[in-house]
Symmetry: C2
Subunit: 305 residues, 2 copies
């Protein structure tokens, strides 16, 4: 069975947090409260014999530089705590603890899938706070309000909300062929779906067509939504689509892509299973591209071109 | 025939703008160049006997405080120009010109549908520039670069990109009933689909379920993507879904909604056609809620509850 798509399972009930005036105080006062911890940009884990966890008793994580309420886990308050990198030594003094980047934590499956969703929420939130300490409207300092669900400007009263950036990511196919590309920063041999941020004034479907045309010169007709995924690097919403190619000739934009080419269905199967003779591979199952490719490989019926 | 969904048709080829080092200079030098104009927050129109237009010869719109390249219209460069409200009198000195807010322009169908998409792109872009003159990371002034497709910080070198906010909007249905709500700010009698911003660390589908639960207490099961729409007030991406309700009892969040209730299919038909005996109505066809409702009304087969 393939691993679940990364960061998509988040069991927290956020409604109390978003509706309440100041849930942080109530969460902090609750002796049952749990917490995840972000250390710099990484996550704090505790590895045991029966697997790892990222959920700690909130009272065990003291000295955080920021705390925020995330939601309720079956009625239990869950907080997020942020620590500066300098706190790592102190945090790691407890046996079994480990600090690791979130992507590796997900790829290695070190914690239950539902905890990855909670960690993604926490990481995106602190990243946004770290990069929005000033008002984009007037330059004055901002301060967190409503338990860190918003930042208000101290001078012009502008209200700032956490940012989520929609990204279109698409499996471009034509009959038994699909179009994949690789960026210079990818691991050697990895090919993935094309993707790009959705621009202002653009539908999802037009964004798919524009990105594919810009990066490869291929014209796309029908676009079909498939599934979505939060991607906490730092705070994208990946919107996964299937795209029907109408042309095949490639004109690669080498500012964006190192390479792009058409792959036969059978080759994609070998890449998904990491059995390709030349070492080519798809992204791992935590990535939405893996699932878009697997759906096409398993469900798409081979049709003549 | 219903009007097309507002702002979804945008005929511009943006690839040259996004790929080129400085398209603004080239666009400005092209004698064929066209331009739309944003005056304050409104749009400049020219009304003629055979309808209106928002496209002007770029050379006829002098004295703008900002200009940006938008894309190519069948090979012709299209710019956006921004004017302060104080320029209105001078701009209106030319016979047939009119300044109007974009929403009214769309509702009244004063310009071709494809021009509404161009105007939406221009309005969202200038709005973003106006509210991002300073660096959220360090508070120093930012300056536009790459023909206003980005702003860079003068102190910390942070790069800032225009913001697009994904919003989930959903037609919640259960058999022959659908759930609509109204906010205090809506016109009298108007009921619309529930909607809300997608949070960090959340899938589209979970955002739909959370918003419906928070605002009405109704539990949603299956969520199906329907269509998307850019909404330039100021720069949302509306992601329209159909949502299957699993419960009917309502607990309305009166901080968000003035009212919410279930409507029978026949009543929705009367509201869409503005023939409801009590004057109830749906949003107009420029809004995605209208199209979600019309799809459900026309295509959904009545099933027993």
């Amino acid at each position: 069975m393939p691993q679940p798509l990364g960061f998509t399972l988040n069991p927290l009930d956020r409604s109390t947090v978003e509706g309440e005036a100041d849930p942080l105080g109530r969460f902090e006062a609750d002796r049952r409260a749990l917490s995840v911890a972000i250390v710099g940009d990484d996550v704090l884990l505790r590895m045991g014999e029966d697997g790892g966890t990222a959920l700690f008793d909130a009272a065990d994580l003291t000295g955080a530089d920021e705390s925020a309420p995330l939601g309720l886990l079956d009625g239990t308050p869950v907080l997020a705590r942020h620590f500066a990198p300098g706190a790592a030594e102190r945090l790691l003094a407890v046996r079994g603890r480990r600090i690791l980047d979130l992507r590796s934590t997900a790829v290695q499956g070190l914690v239950p899938a539902a905890q990855l969703g909670i960690l993604a929420q926490a990481k995106s939130l602190f990243d946004w706070h770290a990069r929005h300490r000033f008002c984009a409207n007037c330059g004055a300092p901002t301060a967190p309000v409503q338990s860190r669900l918003r930042r208000d400007c101290s001078a012009c009263a502008a209200q700032h909300f956490p940012r989520t950036d929609p990204v279109a990511i698409m499996l471009v196919a034509r009959g038994d062929l699909c179009l994949l590309g690789r960026q210079v920063r990818f691991p050697p041999g990895t090919y993935s779906c094309l993707a790009g941020f959705i621009s202002q004034g653009e539908t999802l479907e037009d964004a798919v067509r524009r990105e594919v045309l810009e990066e490869t010169g291929v014209r796309v007709g029908a676009v079909t939504y498939q599934l979505s995924q939060p991607w906490p690097f730092p705070s994208s919403l990946m919107i996964g689509c299937a795209a029907q190619a109408e042309t095949e000739a490639l004109t690669i934009d080498h500012k964006e892509l190192e390479d792009a080419r058409w792959f036969e269905r059978g080759e994609v199967g070998l890449m998904l299973e990491r059995r390709h003779p030349d070492g080519l591979a798809t992204p791992p199952p935590i990535a939405i591209a893996h699932h878009l490719l697997r759906r096409w490989y398993e469900e798409g019926s081979p049709v003549s071109r």
